[in-house]
């Protein structure tokens, strides 16, 4: 299922010339950044009002301080680019990268390939928070805030319940997540039943979408996602150590329970931030890390950075499909990711030879 990481060679080492420890393969890094760039340009140019690639490139280069180029876009096109397309593409980048990173982080600490960022009650909590905000009929600006608070509270409840019943065991935590999600979803269904008028709006939120009004959403979530992503990426070697299990990791000097707590907190914070502005976009957190594992290797030093790049690419492309395929209407982007994700999920299950 995974290629030998010796392909990750980075040149000779004088101390031990024949030994090549695992490193992020440069060719995969370059390739993933190249397709990321292509996806961004596609996302910026394609839409109901097509923008010329040359003009878009000129506008982007013009951002560099001290560079002044003519021949960019006219005022209307520039407004489409900077007020409509760019915020949406950037939101797709940060949300996609965050969901993929959080998914990989969860899979690492729980040593379970099916773990996803919504595992511990983030999704159900955020869904309930957003539902309350929508049915209360208040300002729509409050929806992301309520979703964020609900997501964090959902995970806090899962942790409290998991510790209460089973101490530090992984299974008790995951089962507590199942219980919390079931309970919160039931409450959400009840609230929806009592407020049928807003059902369509709640439903639209749950399916996930990247709707932006200028840069506000991006700027609101960026600090949380930046911190979360930095913490997760910094733990990439420790996640490799945890792959031998918490007991053995402990004998190697890694306090497994503490590392797990830090990674779960970071992944949860970032996921809650992402969910608050994008709704529940499924499958990115599971599908993307698995594609990386199959292509480039399963060390977290490879999986985390490449999953971030590929997750960003995947969501930008999925959003492009979502807003063009039934143009002038829009599909919820969560439908597109699941449309690709569900069959892929089956493939992963078929090819996974390891019993976890």
């Amino acid at each position: 299922m995974t290629p030998v990481s010796s392909a990750a060679a980075t040149g000779p080492d004088t101390a031990a010339h024949a030994l090549r420890p695992v490193r992020l393969p440069r060719r995969w890094l370059v390739a993933s950044l190249a397709i990321l760039l292509a996806a961004v340009l596609l996302g910026l140019t394609v839409g109901p009002a097509g923008l010329p690639l040359r003009g878009v490139l000129t506008e982007i280069v013009g951002l560099v301080p001290g560079v002044h180029l003519d021949g960019g876009l006219d005022d209307r096109q520039a407004a489409v680019l900077w007020q409509l397309r760019a915020p949406r593409v950037v939101l797709g980048l940060v949300v996609g990268a965050m969901l993929a990173l959080a998914g990989a982080g969860y899979q690492g600490v729980f040593r379970n390939p099916l773990a996803d960022p919504y595992l511990l009650g983030v999704a159900a909590g955020a869904g309930l928070g957003a539902t309350f905000a929508i049915v209360s009929g208040g300002n729509r600006v409050l929806v992301p805030l309520a979703a964020f608070a609900g997501g964090v509270l959902g995970v806090a409840a899962t942790y409290a319940l998991g510790r209460g019943v089973g101490g530090r065991s992984t299974n008790s935590l995951i089962l507590a997540g199942v219980a919390v999600a079931a309970f919160l979803t039931a409450v959400q269904t009840f609230v929806n039943q009592r407020n049928v008028d807003s059902l369509r709006e709640v439903y639209g939120w749950i399916l996930g979408r990247l709707l932006t009004a200028g840069w506000d959403e991006v700027l609101t979530v960026l600090p949380y996602i930046a911190v979360s992503a930095a913490v997760l990426l910094a733990h990439r070697r420790l996640l490799d150590v945890l792959s031998v299990g918490p007991d053995e990791a402990g004998t190697l000097g890694v306090p497994a329970a503490r590392v797990r707590l830090v990674v779960v907190l970071a992944a949860t914070l970032g996921t809650a931030a992402a969910v608050s502005v994008s709704g529940l976009i499924g499958f990115v957190g599971i599908v993307v890390p698995h594609i990386v594992r199959m292509l480039a290797g399963s060390s977290y030093r490879i999986v985390l950075p490449l999953a971030a790049a590929l997750g960003a690419t995947f969501l930008v492309v999925a959003d492009l499909v979502a807003r063009t395929v039934v143009s002038p209407g829009e599909l919820p982007v969560g439908v597109v990711t699941a449309f690709v994700g569900a069959p892929f999920f089956t493939l992963v299950l078929r090819s996974a030879r390891r019993t976890w």
Binding site: V4, S5, A15, A16, V241, E248, T251, L252
Partner: protein
Amino acid sequence: MTALTAQDVGVTLLERQVVDGVSLSVPAGTWLTLVGPNGAGKSTLLRAVSGAVAHSGTIAFDGVEVARLRSRERARLVAVVPQDPTRPEGMTVLDYVLLGRTPYIPYLGTESAEDLAMAGELLDTLELRSLSHRLVTELSGGEFQRSVLARALSQQAPVLLLDEPTSSLDLGHAQQVLELVDELRASRGLTVVSALHDLTTAGQFADHLVLLADGRVVAQGSAQEVLTEELISAHYGARVRVLTDPQGGVVVVPLRPGRSVREIGGVA
């Protein structure tokens, strides 16, 4: 000099006293082996020594109490070869051996050239260099056991704990691994504490045997003192003949009760 001491150590798991009032002292550079029937508390005692389970009483390395150590510090003093080590998916032998350098690598750092050089040295010692880029999931039982040993040795800890290190190996590979540990003990001055099922092998490789039953020490001393027909019969519920080989080693041979032999033969 004493490398490892245990004083009145007790471990309670799920409200059951698994280890009860065990006191031991292991001189530096020697090999102590725990023997005893299933459930006697051998593995749990080793887990207490490695800090994996909480214990009462005191366990100390060179006078430093294990319970006071942070996990990084402890991992520099004691290395563990677990009974059934996990084979991580997609990890090469080299990266697996480098895991042993974790207690020396900064929390969020990465391996240095020195760490790599040390891993390379151990790959040579354990004849693993040609396998260094193979995945640990593809190794034979013997090759993987050598990798686990290399990982433990790369921790450069003066104390090595081995929990049934030969349980998945055939006779030849089991002998090879134990001989290797004994050589390393002699050349590096390692203090070894192991748990072993096979009593004859235990007697051959240990300086000191400790017989555990129901979490307590019921006998300790040399192989001749611990591996007696009476003690084995009393604590294992097994009928054995204990022989002495010409070199002075103790051989434990299981016997079949005469009656059951006739029954199985269908002569009744």
